[in-house]
């Protein structure tokens, strides 16, 4: 292939205890969007960071065209025309758009001072080339929307005149309309001959944007294929590495009686609009939707973090009026949050104190607590959930993501929770731990606990749920039973198209 602009051969990158990349070959052609896909921990971000010069690999070679290169820093890579748009923005909120684009390499006038006029002119030109001239280059970036900030990031990357651009999960924080406009811009970049590496795990996006796709798993390359030659299930099997039905194992189960119901439930900020859902005893109900569709907001509303703006919430037949976490937890509801490090755990506290964070009051209704009894209780849960920790006094920050998640689970199980809200329960944990979490969810359901699961990973929602609600723009736009709709149909509903196939 003569238009190959970047090749990697046998790239190996190790972190203490983990082989993040194991002899990975990869190539990128000019004018293509090459998707890098894999589960969390598969090595997709690591590979892109090696290409960007952010990580120095232990082994292997990188070629730009025919020339062998070795980058010592991202600056080296930038100078050779490789620019990145990161998932977390690198903009400084108090600087304006132009200042951000030309940060640390501001044009100077003849007195050696910053030439603001030229800087703003150039920034404007760059934004125009992205059809984003509506963005005011003099505005501090903190006033911009997430999508606009991303455009500024892209403009910043373009200001280096790159031949290769790396997008790391660019749609993670965008609404669907913004995603569409991002895709239009990526297509335009592609037409101008730039080679694009697109890191993502959102299956529903690949067909819209990708040309080729490379699947990584546990640091190894599984395959590189043309996008129109594979279907979703094949991709999932490649990513997960085993038959999907084994990963998402569900036992036979009967649902008895309703435990949670919402009637036209809305929040006060208009992000959740007149939502009607029900959850039965022993049922796993999935809520699918893009980021920004209002799923997390719905969970926060039910759990009492945000106040109810309208409609009704019933838990076990009882209407909950002034919702607050303290009240909701008393009704037996628990929530496993999206961001366990920020909202799930006190990271510098021990496994022990985190496990009893909710249940302490129920174990010790009188004033004093008994250390000895706490140790007994916690040791029991650590064994039950097989939390890998040397002892229960270990701070949670020293645990792996999967084990942290188990501590969060232990926290709720010890509080006798029978309705669990899972918000992205397997984000950032490896496949083995994921399967344990799935098995746990299945077991909980068979024990008669009810689960409301929010997830961006469609295979997970489809694989685990007895029933699925599809959310879009704050509303429930579809509902289906297990196996009723295909991934494509659900994906279309999530994106807000094809509403007629909805079964509700």
């Amino acid at each position: 292939m003569d238009n190959v602009i970047l090749t990697t051969r046998a790239i190996t990158k190790e972190f203490p205890g983990v082989k993040a990349l194991d002899s990975v070959d990869f190539d990128l052609r000019s004018g293509e969007v090459h998707i890098l896909v894999g589960e969390n921990g598969a090595g997709k971000s690591t590979l892109s960071k090696v290409i960007l010069g952010a990580y120095i690999p232990e082994g292997g070679e990188i070629y730009l065209g025919d020339e062998k290169v070795s980058f010592k820093s991202t600056r080296d890579a930038l100078q050779r025309g490789i620019a990145a748009v990161y998932q977390e923005f690198t903009l400084i909120p108090y600087l304006n758009v132009a200042q951000n684009i030309f940060f640390n390499r501001e044009p100077r006038n003849k007195y050696g001072l910053i030439d603001h006029k030229k800087m703003e002119r150039d920034a404007k030109k760059l934004l125009e080339s992205l059809n984003c001239d509506y963005i005011n280059v003099k505005l501090p970036t903190k006033f911009l929307s997430v999508a606009e900030q991303q455009m500024v990031e892209i403009a910043k990357a373009l200001s280096f005149n790159p031949r290769i651009m790396v997008f790391d999960e660019p749609t993670a924080t965008l609404s669907e309309r913004e995603v569409e406009s991002l895709f239009r811009r990526i297509k335009k970049l592609k037409e101008s001959g730039i080679g694009i590496i697109y890191v993502s795990h959102r299956m529903q996006e690949f067909k819209h944007i990708g040309d080729r796709i490379t699947v990584l798993r546990d640091g190894k390359k599984i395959a590189t294929v043309n996008i129109d030659e594979v279907n979703d299930m094949e991709l999932v099997n490649m990513m997960v590495g085993r038959d999907i039905s084994q990963v998402y194992h569900r036992s036979e189960n009967h649902f008895t009686g309703e435990v949670l119901r919402t009637e036209k439930l809305s929040d006060k900020k208009g992000r959740v609009k007149e939502v009607d859902i029900t959850l039965n005893k022993g049922e796993i109900v999935g809520i699918a939707g893009l980021v920004g569709a209002g799923r997390t907001e719905l969970a926060r509303l039910i759990f009492g973090i945000d106040p109810i703006g309208g409609g009704k919430l019933f838990i076990k037949g009882k209407e909950i009026k002034d919702n607050s976490p303290v009240k909701i937890v008393k009704e037996g509801v628990g929530m496993v949050c999206e961001d366990r490090k920020r909202m799930g755990l006190a990271l510098n506290h021990s496994v022990m104190w985190n496990t009893v964070a909710v249940s302490l009051k129920s174990f010790f209704p009188k004033l004093l607590i008994s250390h000895k009894k706490i140790v007994e209780i916690v040791t029991d849960y650590v064994k039950q959930l097989r939390v890998a920790t040397p002892d229960i006094y270990r701070a949670c920050k020293n645990l792996s993501g999967g084990n942290q998640q188990k501590v969060v689970l232990a926290k709720w199980l010890s509080a006798n929770t029978d309705i669990m809200i899972f918000d992205e329960p397997t984000r950032g944990i490896d496949v083995g731990a994921k399967m344990e979490i799935y098995a746990m969810m299945d077991k909980l359901a068979t024990e008669g606990k009810s689960i409301l699961m929010i997830s961006s990973e469609l295979p997970e929602v489809i694989g685990m749920s007895d029933r699925i609600y599809i959310m879009n723009n704050g509303r429930i736009v579809g509902e289906c039973k297990r196996g009723e709709l295909s991934a494509d149909q659900i994906g279309a509903l999530m994106l807000g198209v094809g509403g007629d196939s909805c079964a509700s």
Binding site: F15, P325, K330, G344, A357, L360
Partner: protein, 326 residues
């Protein structure tokens, strides 16, 4: 034993223990009067007010907040009590009103920080001025002295050979220790300080927790203020002022993190004692009182330096352990 040593080494107050041990040993060697019964009693008596103030402040700092009003609050309560005693109110009632006044200051701080959501540093500094101003108004710029014997006994009386004030401080320390370590409220305070969001999602009543911490601080300030007045047999609007930041220093030197969630009463006892011993030793050595503040300042800086160094070291170890995959 090995396990015990490890717990000790890992505890946030590790450097405070070492600091206290070092100062204690050095003091015993270079000043022969230091390790006498009389002097140890003197040290404990001098340190007891600071100790009481610091225990309540520890609760606030554990939540990741600050209370800069403790010095002024203790002054205010002292002044209120002195005025009431002069007016002839019975001593138990005066004690009760004093405690109530301290609790009210705590509620006010809790309101500013928890409901109005001001940064505690600024809010409690404001309270500090309000409270100091109130004291001046109450005292009309006067100093009151000559309080009833029944009252001054709490500051000057003895139980056997031991001054009552030391026993009182000890009791407060034990109560605070139990509250923070052995009750759900204590765990909530730690959880709040370590990660407020996680506490909210764990159904910790976060407002109640914050108010409780500030009220604890207000109560200990009130007790300290009353004991101070009893001991001096006098009250003056500015008498608590010097304690304000000294209290903060005692807590922080004791290894309680200003970010919240780490530390505790044991460390605070050490911190308060350490600061008191240093002043005591300098007095015994006849070091000029002009030079003393400088030495105390250095000790505080060095202790906090050790503490933050040890924390940084711990954190780097952790970072190396976690591979950065994706």
């Amino acid at each position: 034993m090995k396990k015990y040593m490890e717990t000790l080494r890992r505890s946030q107050s590790f450097y405070s223990y070492i600091g206290l041990a070092l100062v204690f040993i050095i003091a015993s060697v270079i000043v022969k009067e230091f390790l006498t019964f009389d002097n140890i009693i003197t040290v404990l008596r001098q340190g007891s007010i600071l100790l009481i103030l610091s225990t309540g402040l520890t609760a606030v700092i554990l939540t990741g907040n600050m209370d800069l009003s403790v010095g002024a609050s203790s002054g205010l309560v002292g002044c209120i009590c002195a005025q009431l005693l002069r007016a002839g109110l019975p001593i138990p009632l005066v004690f009760l009103i004093g405690l109530l006044a301290g609790a009210l200051v705590g509620v006010f701080n809790g309101f500013l920080v928890g409901i109005v959501k001001l940064p505690s540093f600024v809010a409690t500094y404001g309270t500090n001025w309000v409270v100091a101003g109130l004291s001046i108004i109450i005292m009309h710029g006067d100093i009151i002295y000559g309080l009833p014997k029944g009252f001054t006994w709490f500051g000057t009386g003895y139980v056997g050979p031991i001054p009552f004030i030391i026993i009182f401080a000890l009791v407060i320390v034990i109560i605070a220790y139990i509250l923070l370590q052995k009750t759900t409220l204590g765990r909530d305070i730690y959880a709040y300080g370590s990660n407020k969001d996680a506490a909210l999602f764990s159904a910790v009543p976060i407002k109640k927790t914050l108010f409780s911490a500030f009220i604890m601080s207000g109560l200990t300030a009130a007790i300290a203020g009353m004991l101070m007045t009893a001991r001096l047999n006098a009250a003056d609007a500015t008498m608590g002022d010097t304690y304000g930041l000294q209290t903060v220093a005692a807590v922080v030197v004791g290894g309680t993190s200003m970010l919240g969630g780490e530390g505790g009463i044991t460390g605070t006892v050490i911190g308060a004692m350490l600061l008191t011993i240093i002043v005591n030793v300098m007095n015994l050595l006849g070091i000029s009182s002009f030079a003393q503040p400088m030495v105390v300042g250095f000790v505080i800086v060095v202790m906090v330096l050790f503490d933050s160094y040890s924390r940084r070291k711990q954190n780097t170890v952790v970072r190396r352990k976690q591979p950065q995959t994706n």
